[in-house]
Amino acid sequence: MSNESRPFMHRHLLDIESLDAQDVLHLLDAAEVFFEISRRPVRKVPTLRGKTVINLFYEASTRTRTSFELAGKRLSADVVNISTGTSSVKKGETLLDTVKTLEAMHPDVVIVRHSASGAPHFIAERLGCSVVNAGDGQHAHPTQALLDAFTVRRRLGRLDGLTVTICGDSKHSRVARSNAHLFQLFGGKVRFVGPRTLLPHHAESLGVEVYDRLEPALEGADVVMVLRIQRERLAGALLPSLREYSRTFGISERTLAAAPESAIVMHPGPMNRGVEIEPKVADGPRSVVLNQVEAGLAIRMAILYQLAGDAGTAPPS
């Protein structure tokens, strides 16, 4: 691990496309340092004392918000949570007005989740502090891809040239998109598999291979990433029934037989047990679902550490 090569020169973390392989390795190496902190008797360091982190969540999220909140707190930053249910957004405030109000509070990092793709970019252009994208619409979820990469590297010992199969609703998934970009930075082959109605039309421009049958997609895979099936896709007539989906595309011990013995199974959560993933697999030895949660905290600490400091950050990009 060599994180001495070059400092991390980004002011914001908005998507994986803005990063190169060295940036990613830099964050993963730093996360190794922070991973250890959460296993100490005292799980807190004084590093970001006096810094302010605002969690601005326009979309319901428990695990990502909690993960960012805990990451900030374990670094001793002051963390404030603003979610739409309790904020003036409900009273009709525009995104721009909210941003200006936040700016007046002098935060060091603002973490944004929004249902509109591009909202974090909009905010980053108008705020004088660092912005982290915690998921925007169907566009990007860079911290999820980074924590997935961290988990994969810890479990498989490498990131280079992996075959990653992403199962499910890749059409609407920012997790799929960010992971596709990340693993391709390391020469990986990324496959999307699912029913035709849930595969993106522009898959080729993402550089991924598309499959409409599970078995060939799992052949030779090092990593099997299972996406959450959202029930509203049923209402949108993209799926005939959850049961049929589960039988054809669900990851079970039976379907997983097509993948190599060494393949690991990931899920960004929350899981629909019995729909996209069988409980036996979710709780089995190949599942790294809980490792992903632990990795998420370390990655987010590393990102806050990189972005909240005054030194080493590049001018506004």
């Binding site: 994180n3 830099h26 250890e36 004084p46 590093t47 550490y305 400091g309």
Partner: protein, 180 residues
């Protein structure tokens, strides 16, 4: 850049430092089962390993060795972040009730040691914390005093004193670079 202490003399300093720690163990100041060494990244890490092997040779006891990273505990953290050379703290033994010797190569202001003590205490409450340094060059800015010293050196406050480490963690020489 000039050589301040050549390799032979440096080895003598290390042996002297290790011997004073072994003395302390023999006098009963630190029990063979309670003693532990913690090197401060990065200069203290190879030194702690060397001291552990000297203690092993002299007393036939295996002393647990750990590492602390102080970047996250610096008193100038707010303006010095982020540190690109950051590495992990590794303390795989229980520090509670231990006589921990913090180890660093050069002691000057004492700020690094202050940060290292804070980091160490986050792993539990040792019985006692001592400080061992290869070189004490004076210039303290905090009330920190070493318990074991390899050698006291007098150098200009602005000069850079560094201990060169080989690829196997061997201590090669101490160099001095005067400020311009």
């Amino acid at each position: 850049m000039t050589t301040l202490v050549q390799s032979e003399e440096l080895a003598r300093c290390v042996r002297r430092l290790a011997a004073s720690i072994v003395d302390e163990v023999q006098r009963g100041g630190a029990g063979p089962h309670t003693l532990a060494l913690v090197g401060i990244r990065r200069g203290g890490v190879p030194l702690a390993a060397r001291i552990a092997s000297e203690i092993r040779a002299a007393e036939d006891i295996e002393v647990p060795v750990g590492t602390v990273e102080i970047a996250l505990y610096r008193d100038d953290a707010a303006t010095a972040l982020p540190d690109p050379k950051i590495g992990p703290s590794v303390i795989e033994f229980d520090v509670r009730g231990k006589d921990v010797i913090l180890v660093d190569d050069v002691l000057q202001t004492g700020r690094t040691v202050r940060a290292a003590i804070d980091c160490l205490l986050d792993y539990g409450r040792p019985r006692r914390v001592w400080l061992a340094v290869l070189f004490d060059r004076g210039g303290r800015e905090l009330p920190i005093a070493p318990d074991f010293v390899g050698r006291v050196v007098e150098v200009a406050a602005s000069a850079r004193l560094e201990v060169e480490v080989g690829p196997e963690g061997e201590l090669l020489q101490a160099t001095l670079e005067e400020a311009e």
